[in-house]
Symmetry: C2
Subunit: 485 residues, 2 copies
């Protein structure tokens, strides 16, 4: 009887949500035609569209649809009206914030992962797929120089990785009454650390903003003094956060110095390497981030340094048992968990249970190309940034505010004798004029009282030709702003 | 000069990671051929493969690949060796835990979202795409009966939604020194609440496990007594967590009663509706979950009740300002945020900054079909569960441990006079024999000292034919276990 059922006309009761082979292929073809056109015309698209957003958004507000719309109409809406009004994060000219990538390989990996929809939160539910994701974590550990028995977990990005890291450090290093626990990091550290600390339960003031030096690296001695002072005051210093590439300027803290300091005071040493970490693939990056592997934990975003689409970060730890200690749970309705830790149940080492199979997104491109291709790309980004730095120095009236430590360079127009307000206004206008040409999109930041423009080179699509355009646009914009001395 | 660059031979320096149109199409075709074959043969695949996992996983352990592998080989590895060894969560016969769905529409949506790789963490970066995701949140709010100005955020699943909810409640309702804050929930509540409380900084004992009644619903009076006792003892009751469909048995707490209790004691009322919430689309579900819309917040998983692939949950709140209060941050390098809250910056109302554009995954299938199709599917699941319940009652020696409140029914073999140990062993063997036939995959849970089997019907692929097979397999397995009285 069972066999009868299996070979029988099972699709009589097929749900309209179940697409047959032809319908699946038609839907994917529809999407792919648009995707290919989009990617193939990226060169002609502006690096950012900054107008019309409010009108567009208002026109899209919609109540729950009762009936369906043909997919071709939806694709038209997406690709012709909705997607174009945006920061063109897929473009070679997007040199703003930290550029994302958007490897199509990862898009295909997600297509597969979603279509087969296996469950990777616990090992026993899909041991092979879990192993592929565990391999990815292992590869990341290799890249940063972690020992063989290090581990970690993939996240949706750096913010959650930093949050999970601080919660882990809190649970492993502090008593249940942890409110006197204090965290040390540079004033240039990404705000996700401050936010993670607050979400993890600490009073905001418990995050100590330590001053930075001229290269915008944390002052290690000042850190030591603050720790000693806090101990003296009865606080519980427990966590030190270093940077391997700040968002502001790509600054790399003295990681070796910080690691030694953390050891001296028995602090958990976390490194925010979300942006910079994958440069450890290159010789230059490895040298500049010396000490990185001494971290107890680090955040590392493949959607930055490996060019993956947004949505893939990672938290790596030297000792995976710390993640177990912080996260593992038990429930009767759950499948059997791995006891000896030869294999990993991701839900036992992170706050998530059901979640996407995000490992494939990194696995497929690395397997298809090998890591050497990624190393070459990152080396190219370092070269391009150094080249831009040299060219910027040749433009009169431009001063370098932060020379590249990785693939960020910060600069501004100088006007001797001008006060900060006037100079900042000038530089905002300078940025506006560069961006108005549409070839590149740059963003700025505040370094102390000073507004500075940044170039951040991290897309796999950005090559020498676009950097030449970028510098040419900067030079021309600077030329239009020659004013009275 | 700029124009020259744009029209010039830009792809001279094309990265090997940049696939051209033909290569993109070839890769997608390769994947789609496998996906279609996989989905079209689901009927003939076992509902779970539980052996060979360790050997497979060990054979896949691999160091960082230096060089590439042809994609066809990778697809073969995935689809022929890796994916088949798993709980077949895509199968119509997967009636275990809470079944996931895996709509192909969502897989295509992710293909698009990843390929264009726009950034939706802040509104200004992609106002139209952000609005589509905001629409999805609005639709979910409509479905559960929330007012027009409710809001929320999409997450990767229920665990993070519960974590973000507890952190929000903590930040909105408790002082900075919150360690005396106590949380009330039934003993049958999903463990992610317990874990969320601990990760949010509370001592484990601050989560009060309130006893359940015969229908496994929280005892509202006992809850009130515990709150009063805790207040009297100087603790700070601040949060009450109800269930709209427990994982164990699909039990629905008296949500109206809990809402009134929460109001009386000024507690934050959170409902874990991760599994059950979308049944609010149906008349029966809405009636059974009366009071749901009185919650301050709720978790609702579209990767459960809307059949989406794993990786899409949501946290909805009556008052979106509470999410802002708990999460908003400022940093100089960040884009401009929306001040008047006509539009939403997702990063200001959740712990994430960079993350995937997960709204499209829900938007595309709902837009393509309209919500009525989803309602019909959920009604069918309620019918199927009720049908299974009636059929189970006709099988001799089977007793219903938990009649369906939604789409879960729990049952076991009874043997008058047997002790719990012997009876539990018998029922584990009962489940083993059902699952061994490969047509369906059931899992069990502990209800007090008693092991019970569960049927949970939630896949859009599960229809009457598979349920008939399921009941037939149960009946036959029960028959093989007829033993001495």
């Amino acid at each position: 009887m069972t066999e009868d059922k299996r070979s029988g006309s099972v699709y009589d009761r097929r749900s309209p949500l179940e697409l047959d082979g032809a319908a699946m292929r038609a839907l994917v073809d529809l999407a792919m035609a648009r995707i290919i056109e989009h990617i193939d015309t990226l060169e002609r698209q502006p690096a950012a569209v900054e107008t019309g957003g409010a009108e567009l958004a208002r026109s899209l507000v919609e109540s729950l649809p009762q009936t369906g719309t043909p997919p071709a109409e939806l694709m038209e809406l997406l690709f012709e009206r909705v997607i174009p009004v945006s920061y063109n994060t897929a473009s070679a000219g997007y040199l703003a914030y930290i550029p994302g990538g958007g490897l199509l390989h990862s898009a295909v990996a997600d297509l597969i992962a979603n279509a087969v929809n296996r469950y990777v939160g616990v090992w026993i539910a899909a041991p092979g797929l879990v192993q592929l994701e565990a391999n990815v974590v292992r590869w990341f550990c290799q890249i940063v120089g972690y020992p063989e028995d290090a581990g970690g977990v993939l996240t949706t990005g750096g913010s959650l990785a930093n949050l999970f890291a601080l919660i882990t450090a809190r649970r492993v290093r502090l008593p249940a009454d942890f409110l006197a626990g204090t965290i040390y990091t540079s004033a240039d550290t990404h705000h996700s650390i401050q936010r993670a600390a607050v979400l993890a339960g600490f009073p905001p003031a418990n995050v100590r903003d330590i001053p930075v030096d001229d290269a915008r690296r944390i002052d290690v001695r000042a850190t030591a003094r603050q720790i000693e002072q806090d101990r003296h005051d009865g606080l519980l210093p427990f966590c030190l956060v270093g940077n391997a590439g700040t968002t502001n300027t790509g600054a790399i803290d003295d990681l070796d110095g910080l690691a030694s300091l953390a050891a001296e005071f028995a602090l958990w040493f976390h490194v925010d390497a979300a942006y910079g970490g994958f440069f450890a693939l290159t010789e230059r990056g490895r040298a500049r981030m010396a000490g990185l592997a001494r971290a107890d934990s680090m955040s590392l975003d493949p959607h930055k340094g490996l060019f993956l689409p947004y949505g893939t970060g990672s938290l790596l730890v030297r000792d995976p048992e710390t993640l177990w200690q912080a996260h593992s749970v038990f429930a009767h309705y759950m499948p059997a968990m791995q006891e000896d830790h030869e294999f990993v149940d991701f839900t036992q080492i992170s706050p998530e249970l059901s979640r996407d199979f995000r490992g494939l997104r990194a696995w497929l491109p690395i397997k298809m190309h090998g890591i050497d291709v990624f190393r070459d790309q990152l080396d190219e980004k370092l070269d391009l940034t150094e080249w831009a730095h040299q060219r910027l120095r040749e433009i009169s009236d431009v001063e370098i505010v932060a020379p590249p430590q990785l693939s960020v360079v910060a600069f501004r127009l100088r006007r001797p004798g001008w006060d900060a307000t006037r100079l900042n206004a000038l530089n905002r206008e300078f940025m506006r004029r560069i961006n108005a040409r549409g070839n590149v999109y740059l963003t700025g930041t505040m370094l102390g009282p000073d507004f500075a423009l940044r170039i951040c080179v991290l897309s796999f699509r950005t090559h020498r030709d676009r950097m030449e355009t970028c510098l040419s646009d900067i030079e021309q914009a600077a030329g239009t702003l020659v004013g009275p001395a």
